[in-house]
């Protein structure tokens, strides 16, 4: 670089597709490296508002002494940077993403169009109900649909994700017990539960009691009975559970928990398996959260936004968070649809009305599919998972090899024991094949777990290719002549990443680089 000769070479080049795996495999510079003082992309309306000197606007003690350093780029370099970053990112739109427990199904583009409607995206959340009747109607329609799907009586749409739904549910549990003059101390969760469950229990002010799974992969009913007492506020379950197995004893479990005055919480992360087949309400659950970003095809956004509405049985409706969109019951000349906070509400759980545009997307998906379509979604998701289970059986252990629901957990234990190849190696090797990896090492109760959730939107051909790839990898693991699996992936934008070093020499921002 002859930076001095040009005077321009202070930063990194922005116009070079240096990070596009399409062309070369260099890293993409950061925004900060691309920044060049004096460049800009922004532009504001011409308003005619006279500018007032800053010192008349901000009292001196509160005034900034120097501007926040934000990268300075032309729109061209801004666009280049983020377009290139997007080429370093796998996504559902690029290929199958069989990440267990996450339901990475295809997200229909019509829902993008819905979320972009100016009449929805441009509404202010603090506007009085009379001015946003469309939004209230939408929320009510979604709430009703979710209640029908789960067999519940009412719902809050505020929680912004599944975990927020869990905590909301636990607060509802607490409020209900308190309303009955009871203070209970524990919540039971199975050892196969997702990490958010115990974390939420703690935040809900409860102590976690873990029940083990039995040899069939389900809650050990005897062990459950042993821990049930009057201190138990409730139990959190997902059904099918995180092994992809239906808890067949659910009626007995519900009976036992209810008998000691506990409530049943349904973690809806796996709802995709049972849409239109069986409803949490009918199984005896009192509280249900849903992950709309999973079951109802709203995209995961690289890690969010999601939406985690909580539906409850009749006796819990008075405790729901508020405000809640409701049909007006008065004959006044106010608007038809109003905000109402339930009488004994636990209060707000979101700054406004939840991730509203995500809610709109989910309703769109529900309406396109309809009751009949949602049922077929579940059937097909379960069919796909079972088909994979059959195809993978030969090369992988299937710890609980009986009909699974929407996902299947296999184990690479044999591969590790016999060839030193871990679940992680299988996952990284699969990346090389053009698929995203399954979830690994979860649920914790399965050794070298590979949790595979194909979802219903992947075709039989794709399943075939996925099964072939996984089986081929198992064969490679056993073969002396193949590249060791630990070397993979080879052609991804970066190869295996040093996670230990990241934690050791923590660099959480570009300014922390030493």
């Amino acid at each position: 670089m002859s930076a001095t000769s040009s005077g321009g070479g202070r930063g990194a080049p922005g116009g070079r597709a240096s990070s596009a795996p399409l062309l070369g495999r260099d890293s993409e510079p950061t925004l900060f490296e691309l920044s060049h003082p004096g460049r800009s992309a922004y532009s504001f309306r011409t308003t005619g508002v006279p500018p007032v000197p800053l010192d008349e606007l901000v009292p001196e003690t509160h005034r900034r002494s120097e501007a926040v350093r934000i990268p300075e780029l032309s729109e061209r370099d801004l666009t280049g940077h983020f377009t290139r970053l997007s080429h370093r990112q796998f996504s559902v739109d690029l290929g199958a993403y069989p990440l267990g427990s996450c339901t990475m199904k295809y997200n229909p583009k019509v829902c993008d169009a819905i979320a972009a409607l100016p009449g929805l995206a441009g509404a202010h959340p603090a506007a009085p109900a009379s001015l946003v009747q469309g939004w209230l109607a939408l929320l009510i329609q979604l709430e009703e649909a979710l209640c029908i799907i789960t067999g519940m009586a009412g719902a809050t749409l505020q929680p912004a994700a599944g975990a927020a739904g869990e905590l909301t549910g636990l607060l509802l549990m607490r409020a209900w017990h308190e309303s009955r003059g009871q203070t209970r101390g524990t919540v039971i969760i199975p050892d196969s539960a997702h990490g958010t469950n115990p974390a939420s229990v703690t935040l809900g002010g409860y102590r976690v009691v873990t029940v083990p799974s039995d040899e069939r992969g389900c809650v050990d009913l005897a062990a459950l009975r042993a821990v049930l007492d009057e201190d138990v506020a409730g139990i959190m379950l997902t059904n099918p559970n995180t092994l992809g197995l239906f808890e067949e004893d659910i009626e007995a479990i519900a009976g036992a928990v209810h008998e000691v005055g506990g409530l049943l919480y349904y973690d809806g992360a796996n709802l995709n398996a049972i849409l239109g087949v069986v409803r949490p309400g009918d199984m005896g659950f009192d509280i249900v959260h849903m992950n709309l970003h999973k079951t109802f095809a709203t995209p995961h956004g690289g890690g969010g936004p999601g939406a985690g509405p909580v539906a409850v049985a009749e006796h819990l409706v008075p405790f729901l968070p508020g405000p809640r969109a409701t049909r007006s019951r008065t004959d006044t000349d106010g608007p038809d649809l109003v905000w109402q906070t339930p009488e004994r509400s636990i209060g707000r759980v979101h700054s406004w009305h939840g991730n509203a545009l995500v809610l709109a997307r989910a309703l769109g998906y529900i309406l396109v599919n309809g009751g009949d379509g949602l049922h077929r979604v579940a059937e097909t998701a379960v069919l796909n998972a079972n088909w994979l289970r059959h195809r993978l059986r030969e090369h992988y252990e299937v710890p609980f090899d009986r009909p699974c629901m929407h996902e299947v957990v296999v184990s690479a234990r044999r591969l590790r024991q016999e060839h030193g190849v871990r679940a992680l190696d299988v996952a990284k090797r699969l990346l090389e094949e053009g698929f995203h990896a399954p979830t690994v090492y979860f649920p914790l109760i399965v050794d070298e777990a590979l949790m595979i959730e194909p979802t219903e939107t992947e075709s039989p051909e794709t399943l075939e290719a996925l099964a072939d790839a996984l089986n081929r990898i198992a064969e490679e693991a056993a073969s002396a002549t193949s590249e060791p699996l630990g070397h993979y992936p080879l052609s991804t934008p970066v190869r295996r990443v040093d996670e230990a070093r990241a934690a050791r020499t923590l660099i959480p921002t570009a300014d922390a680089r030493r």
Binding site: R64, E75, R174
Partner: protein
């Protein structure tokens, strides 16, 4: 309809036969017969995409308070700022939209690097060294900050300024019920927090202040810091990130945690969500940081790479001992904010704040010049302010809607005399003509 399923009837039949099953029903043999739905869901059958889109267009049309048709003077954490087409185009790229949490960093460098850049930007804005990779919204960020503060101080008494957004305070109350925190609201006096003396409940473990606060006033962070120094409490500041472009960073005032609502950086009003919870803290509190954190590292070839780090804090590993339960978050909004901030640049961010403040100044001068209306409080404000009206503010809002304005947010019962208080925000998008018309209409509507 099930439009999104690839499977034909023959596909299903042949897969079932491979499984040795007679029907799709048989897939659900584990579900007790007695529990199964006999007649399907009581939902209408599916309809076509164009029909559904038409339905949503009808719903959208039923919203009058939409920023393309009603001029927006409402704020309260969610503002009508410029969202340029380039931000929408880039943050909307399907690789960002349809991926999930970067569990496999080798194929997720796009999201990871964008988050790393986001963290850097938000840290700079707050004046603190560490930012997480997003929380749900401003309110949940405040809740998480209080949880962190209680953990750090070991005391569960929380003093919260009344200047913190009422909805966020309401969330603190809700969640405090679970964690057992005592949330005590400290009232504003003429727009500024007057901290009381420590009483019988003992010193607070956490002190929460908004900067500027809900009434738009520039509250006294120094006083809050002194209180914390005296009591050993953790100082949480809820800072307006647009004002932060003009004001001393909350970190430089000695905040331990700075939170905020990031909707202002590239997101539409969106009826309040998805928004973006901003969360930054000092290095001291790193191990209690809620949510995801992206760090820089290298790959096996020594090439720069990014990865989520300090994972041991998180729920999936730490489980019931985790400081937070967050999993799915607001990544796409964090990416959006990174794009938007880079679009703004150093100068654009400062100018945006300056334009908002000038427009606010202009609107206030016009509103209060003839003495018919008056400010709700007299403390200095920056880009949002409250008006004291002679009539109930919800009535005024309805009247103003007929004139084409979303006039602001009624203060409501949470503030003394708030039934006649109206919170007004004037962003850089408001033209002089719009402000003039607003002032004229409000003066009339307030009669």
């Amino acid at each position: 309809m099930g439009t999104y399923l690839p499977h034909t009837e023959e596909d299903v039949a042949s897969m079932l036969s491979f499984l040795g099953l007679p029907s799709t029903e048989a897939l659900f043999s584990a579900v007790p017969e007695s529990l199964r739905l006999q007649h399907g869901l009581e939902l209408d059958d599916g309809v076509t995409e164009p029909d559904v889109l038409a339905h949503f267009e009808d719903l959208a049309a039923a919203n009058r308070a939409r920023s393309d048709q009603m001029i927006c003077f409402a704020g309260g954490g969610v503002y009508d700022h410029e969202v340029p087409p380039v931000t929408r185009a880039l943050a909307g790229r399907s690789e960002f939209v349809t991926s999930y949490t970067p569990y496999q960093p080798e194929v997720a460098q796009g999201v990871l690097q964008a988050l790393f850049e986001y963290q850097t930007l938000i840290a700079r804005l707050s004046g603190l060294p560490v930012a997480n990779a997003s929380l749900y919204d401003g309110g949940s960020a405040t809740v998480e900050a209080v949880n962190l503060g209680v953990g750090a101080s070991g005391r569960s008494l929380v003093w919260v300024s009344q200047g913190v957004h009422p909805n966020w305070r309401s969330m603190l109350a809700t969640y405090g019920h679970g964690t057992g925190h005592q949330i005590r609201t400290v009232p504003l006096t003429d727009g500024v927090t007057r901290w009381p003396d420590v009483d019988g409940d003992g010193p607070p473990g956490v002190v929460v202040l908004a900067y500027p606060n809900y009434l738009g006033c520039i509250d006294d962070v120094a006083a809050a810091r002194r209180l914390c120094d005296e009591t050993g409490a953790t100082l949480v500041v809820a800072a307006d990130p647009v004002a932060a472009g003009l004001m001393r960073p909350a970190g430089s005032w000695g905040a331990d945690v700075v939170v905020g609502e990031g909707q202002v950086f590239g997101m539409p009003l969106a009826f309040g969500g998805p928004a973006l919870g901003l969360f930054t803290c000092t290095e001291e509190h790193l191990r209690r940081l809620p949510g995801r954190l992206v760090g820089e590292t290298v790959d096996v070839d020594g090439k720069r790479a990014y990865v989520t780090t300090l994972r041991a804090r998180e729920q999936d590993i730490r489980r019931e001992k985790a400081t937070s339960n967050v999993c799915t978050n607001q990544t796409l909004m964090a990416v959006t904010a990174a794009v938007q901030l880079a679009w703004l640049g150093t100068q654009g961010l400062a100018e945006m704040g300056h334009r908002c403040a000038s427009a606010t100044h202009y609107a206030r001068a016009a509103l209060f010049s003839d003495g018919r209306l008056e400010p709700f409080v007299s403390a200095p404000v920056l880009r949002e302010f409250a008006v004291r009206l002679p009539v109930p503010s919800d009535v005024v809002v309805e009247r103003m809607a007929n004139e084409g304005f979303l006039a602001g947010i009624p203060l409501g019962g949470d503030f003394e005399g708030g039934e006649r208080g109206l919170l007004v925000a004037v962003t850089e998008r408001r033209t002089r003509d719009e402000i003039d018309a607003f002032v004229a209409a409000l003066t009339k509507a307030a009669r």
